[in-house]
Every structure is written in C-alpha cells, then in structure tokens.
C-alpha cells in the first residue's frame, strides 16, 4: 500500500471496491447468454473478479474497466467451451444424426428426410414465438461443441479462424460441424412443427 502507484495520466483506472456493484449483473448476463447454466455463469463472474485482482498490475488503462473485465470473462467462457468439446465426446450420443443418416451413399437425400416447406417459410409474427421455442428445444439437443461453435459464430461474430483456434478444431472439422448441426436443426424443426 505504501508503494507508489503509477497512474496513467489520461487512462482508465481500476476500482475493485466497486466491481461487484457496477459490473456483477452485466457480466452475469454476458456469461449466461453464452453458457446457459446459472451456476456456472455465477462462478465465472466470481472467477473473473478474482483473476482481475490478480492481474491488476497488467492493466494499462487503455480500455475501460468494463471492457477489461469482459475480456477476462470471455477467455473463461472459451475455456468452458473447450472443456465441453473435449472429454465429453461420449455424451454426444444424443439423437443427433450424421450426414449418412440423411443421405444415400451416392449423395441423394433419403426420401424420409426430404426438406419440405413448412410454417417456417412464412415466418409471420404470430407463429414466430412458438417457432422460436421449438428452435430452442432443438438447439438444446445439439452436442456441446456444436452449440459452442454456433454461439461463437452467431452471437459474437467471431471469425472462423478464431473459433477453430480457440476450440482446437480444424477448418474442415468446423464446416462439418456447421453442416451437421444445420441438417439436424432443420430436420428437428420440420418434425416438430408440421
């Protein structure tokens, strides 16, 4: 405490005493929209604050306190994604299908999986809410890795390179995941909507 703290003249400063009051809810919502598990999200917020305390000396004052804390949280979320995508492979035997289930050997659609027009194509506001609920249920059936890829791509607009690097999957694998996830989602929507 006696140390002289160098304060950047125009930069941002950290005030950990206020972190909980000012940022806890913001960070919690950030986490829960990406993790969808209340307990885990809560723990991540706490870990973010503790990690922040430990690396305060690295704060250069170039970004705002909030941006800095969010960056820490984001890394922690990616760690969770990564953990989910390795190790848990065995759990991926839900009722998701591989391409082989949708297509015949030479590449034609199997007749029972032919895409058909259904309510989704009109997309009127009345059915939108229900359709969203169906979509949500269908998404929950996807394996954790697929959902992580989707969330990073669609919620955070990350580049494909970034997603692949962070989740340690190859580009080829990334596109296979996207394709499979989409085939399954579409089939699930059609099945539960018609």
């Amino acid at each position: 405490m006696m140390d002289e703290i160098k304060i950047p003249p125009t930069g941002h400063q950290l005030n950990p005493h206020n972190w909980v009051k000012v940022y806890a809810d913001y960070l919690y919502i950030y986490a829960i929209t990406r993790i969808r598990n209340e307990e885990q999200a809560r723990d991540l917020v706490q870990e973010t604050f503790l990690a922040g305390l430990q690396s305060m000396h690295n704060f250069a004052g170039k970004s705002s306190e909030r941006t800095w804390l969010t960056a820490i949280l984001k890394n922690k979320i990616i760690d969770v994604y990564r953990k989910n995508s390795s190790g848990l492979k065995a759990q991926e035997i839900t009722d998701v299908k591989a391409e082989d289930d949708f297509f015949q050997e030479e590449g034609h659609w199997k007749k029972e999986y032919w895409p058909q027009r259904f309510g989704m194509d009109d997309y009127d506001p009345f059915t939108k809410k229900e359709l969203n609920q169906v979509l949500q249920r269908c998404m929950q059936k996807l394996p954790a890795l697929w959902l992580s890829v989707f969330t990073m791509k669609h919620l955070d607009d990350e580049t494909t390179d970034f997603v692949c690097a962070e989740l340690r999957i190859s580009q080829a694998n990334f596109w296979v995941v996207i394709h499979r996830a989409k085939l399954n989602l579409r089939a699930c929507l059609q099945k539960n909507w018609m």
Partner: protein
C-alpha cells in the same frame, strides 16, 4: 477433382456448400457447381431457404431472445464483495 456429374447428383455436397457459403466463402468453382445443382434440385432449394432462415432465427434468438432480466442474487454478491475486500486488504 469432383466432376460436374458428382455435384449434379450430390445433395450431400450441395447442402454442405450451402451451409458453408452462408457464413463463409466457397470457391468460384464451387459456386458454379452449386448453382448448377440448385437449378435442377428443388429439394436443395428448399433446404437453402430454410437454412438461411434458421441462421437469422438463431441470431435473433441469441441476441434478443428471452434475454434474462435476471440478476445475481445479493447474497452471492455479498460473498464476492467480501472476497475482493479480503484480497485488497491482504496486500
């Protein structure tokens, strides 16, 4: 590599390219092949429409959909505050 014939009759490949193109890039050759396939395949045209719509729906769902108005409970906040103060005092 892939002859024209291969893509013409290959819905698996076509849908793969459709999904890839929606959020990434496919080559010029692939674009041409896909266009030819789609010209003759109504099923994959439906797939393309719906795949695109699903992307839009996912975006909306993730960004705005049921954004939880939940906040962290005060008790947990209290615990975090204590831990932070502890840490600061230790120094």
């Amino acid at each position: 590599m892939n002859g024209l014939k291969r893509i013409l009759y290959n819905c698996r490949k076509a849908t793969y390219l459709i999904d890839k193109r929606l959020i990434g890039k496919i080559t010029f050759r692939e674009t041409v092949e896909l266009r030819i396939h789609l010209a003759g395949c109504g099923i994959c045209r439906i797939y393309m429409d719906q795949s695109q719509k699903i992307n839009e729906m996912i975006r909306q769902l993730l960004k705005t959909g049921e954004k939880p108005v939940i906040t962290l409970d005060d008790q947990f906040k209290g615990i975090m505050q204590e831990r932070i103060e502890d840490h600061l005092n230790r120094k």
